[in-house]
């Protein structure tokens, strides 16, 4: 057992309400399993209804995209990439927080990750699926998507082009999705076993029994499990950095002024973590309220995430200014024009939104009182994601819309199909997240139990009389209010 300084805030708070006492292992199980075992509440049903309506509307526009092609979008001869790739990069970026929390924070032994990693990883998976939707749709003929894979074919084995960053992207995104899914599921198995053992009716017992893979929690299994988690974290850490690096190569290896910059990989990764943490905060602040998890997702968790938002937001800000400086310093007139046009051209409002949402708004988090204010954090978490959407829009559309020949200059305006396809992914994302939150434990119970005592030495796992079966002849070593001590 390890020990954390009492100066640090406890990661798990006391039970609230009339039974104000330190949280026990059994409380953790009860509190997290409650929403899985209970019937869905009204708030959940309302959320689900809204998500499904949005999903259905989006399905209609997606149907139009599928059958009538990308001419349904606002694209033109000059601007061949707009909302599709903007949304793709935005969703992939959001997906970065999950793996960062579960992998990088595991390697850095950040214990506060334990109560948010499960939901963040689920968010990652759903966000990457949303990103994939746009990749599929922007191909125009989505049923030929498998052409992006190096499969033997009837053209005398004409392979994919491994010099192309678009092919690297196929490998990066699919690897990222697979590894995140595996990492998430391995972490779920012990908790699914807990739900299986608590299940009273046969159907949940059967389903969770099937899903929990026959987990028994023996010391040998746990030892191997921990090794798997550690090695997966070690593999995922470079993976998470590589994914957005490769996404940025889609632009950086081109010759378009405004895209052709070497700063893109670190700048994209920082931006991805920035927007990912913002989305985690948006979701977790709602989840802790709806499922009453205030004891597990605390203000200390929120503050830690806000610090990361402040750091990555500032990195992004430095990157914006560096881009401007290098455009001027390079002496290349096309590069200079691209950046002047970004800031002062017809899309100035997108650039202004990006700058104010991404560079200015996170600076509020220098103040501790604001970092710990739920309302401010919630509002800023949404502002940050609006800003990050505009960042991708600015990079993609403003770099394209003024071509080398002024006669080709054009503007991009989205059609209702563009908007609908974006809404489709929102509908899918929230539907999937709500289903996850209802049927699977949103907090990793086993991992929270490991930090329960060490994070709060003043309130150990107290022995509670009445809750445990006690026989007269057995030497029960702890009485109420005292910590169990060994007798030897």
């Amino acid at each position: 057992m390890d020990f954390t300084s009492p100066i640090r805030e406890p990661l798990v708070l006391n039970q609230s309400g009339e039974n104000n006492r330190p949280t026990t292992y059994h409380d953790v199980t009860n509190d997290i399993c409650r929403q899985v075992e209970a019937a869905p509440n009204v708030r959940w049903m309302a959320g689900m209804a809204i998500s499904l309506i949005v999903l259905m509307w989006g399905s209609y526009t997606l149907y139009r995209t599928w059958f009538f092609g990308i001419g349904e979008w606002g694209l033109n001869k000059t601007i061949g990439w707009a909302w599709d790739i903007t949304n793709f990069v935005w969703w992939v970026g959001i997906g970065h927080a999950g793996t960062l929390i579960s992998a990088i924070l595991l390697l850095f032994r950040q214990k506060w990750r334990t109560s948010i990693n499960r939901a963040a990883e689920a968010m990652t998976i759903f966000a990457v699926l949303c990103a994939g939707t746009f990749i599929l749709m922007h191909m125009g003929r989505p049923w030929l998507a498998y052409w992006a894979l190096p499969l033997p074919n009837t053209y005398g084995s004409l392979w994919v082009n491994f010099n192309s960053p678009l092919v690297w992207d196929v490998f990066a995104i699919s690897t990222y999705l697979t590894v995140s899914l595996v990492f998430w599921y391995i972490g779920l198995i012990p908790d699914l076993a807990t739900i299986r053992e608590r299940a009273k009716s046969p159907i949940p017992r059967f389903v969770y029994g099937l899903l929990s893979f026959g987990w028994d929690g023996s010391a040998k299994t746990w030892a191997r499990y921990e090794m798997v988690a550690l090695v997966l974290a070690g593999l995922s850490t470079p993976l998470v950095l590589s994914v957005h690096t490769i996404v940025s190569f889609d632009f950086a290896t081109s010759v378009i002024p405004g895209w052709h910059t070497t700063i893109f990989p670190p700048y994209f990764v920082a931006g991805a973590i920035f927007s990912g943490f913002a989305m985690v905060l948006t979701l977790m602040l709602i989840t802790r309220y709806v499922f009453k998890l205030q004891a597990y997702i605390t203000l200390a968790h929120m503050e830690s995430m806000n610090k990361i938002i402040l750091l990555t937001g500032s990195i992004v800000g430095v990157a914006y200014l560096t881009e401007l400086f290098i455009a001027w310093y390079s002496g290349v007139e096309y590069e200079r024009y691209a950046f002047l046009n970004r800031a002062l051209g017809p899309y100035w409002w997108a650039y202004a939104s990006m700058m104010s949402c991404n560079v200015i708004s996170p600076q509020f988090f220098w103040f501790r009182s604001l970092r710990r204010n739920i309302y401010v954090t919630f509002a800023l978490s949404i502002v940050v994601n609006i800003g990050m959407w505009f960042e991708r829009f600015v990079i993609i559309v403003t770099s394209l819309h003024r071509d080398y020949i002024p006669s080709s200059w054009a503007m991009f305006w989205p059609t209702y199909v563009d908007v609908g396809d974006y809404l489709f992914t929102f509908g899918f994302f929230f539907t999937a997240f709500l289903l996850f939150a209802k049927f699977l434990p949103v907090v990793n119970m086993a991992e929270v139990k490991t930090v329960l005592k060490s994070s709060n030495p003043a309130s150990p796992n107290t022995y509670i009389p009445g809750e445990t079966f006690v026989e007269e002849a057995t030497p029960v070593t702890a009485s109420s209010g005292e910590k169990s001590e060994q007798t030897n």
Partner: protein
């Protein structure tokens, strides 16, 4: 399991890891062989106190990763250089720097999937597998120690029961046949 003869286990239940670890040490010092300990969360160093060997899963992951690297390089070199060579932007047919991203991704993919498959197989985990639970509360808040009586001929059942009670079990040790 149905055809096998049933084995008798003695099950001790502990409330806390701070009681469990000294108990494991003491019971093993007395020469009693512990079948396994079932805990709700990974208890730090418990495998060490139980005398288990360090898992070799990391080595398996390395081997899978190396396989992935090799296959990725082989695939790209063949496809770009020999299968259907094409001039793309005047680049070499086999351009190693361009192969780095896909090689890296496939290394990670095969290492991760291979290690997880090894983990599941070595622990006999998988969809439809039945768990052997000595006490259902071991996935909640109890630390359950199982002692296989058939493997502890040097000790009587009573002496093991007494030993368990001495080490601070929270309930009277119970018998379970599996």
């Amino acid at each position: 399991m149905a055809t096998q003869e049933k084995t008798k286990f003695l099950v001790g239940i502990y409330d806390d890891e701070s009681t469990l670890i000294p108990a494991v040490k003491k019971i093993r010092e007395q020469g009693v062989q512990i079948h396994d300990v079932y805990t709700p969360y990974p208890v730090h160093d418990l495998d060490h106190y139980l005398g288990y060997r360090r898992t070799r899963l990391a080595r398996a992951a390395f081997m899978f990763g190396a396989t992935g690297t090799f296959l990725a390089i082989l695939m790209q070199t063949y496809m770009m250089g020999f299968g259907w060579p094409m001039i793309i932007g005047g680049k070499d047919f086999v351009a190693p720097p361009d192969f780095v991203p896909v090689t890296f991704e496939l290394t990670v993919l095969i290492a991760a999937l291979g290690m997880v498959a090894t983990f599941l197989i070595s622990n006999n985990l998988g969809p439809g597998k039945k768990a052997l639970m000595f006490d259902p509360r071991s996935t909640d808040d109890k630390f359950v120690m199982a002692i296989d009586l058939s493997k502890n001929h040097g000790h009587s059942q009573e002496s093991i029961e007494a030993l368990l009670s001495e080490t601070g079990v929270s309930e009277r040790p119970k018998e379970k046949e599996v």
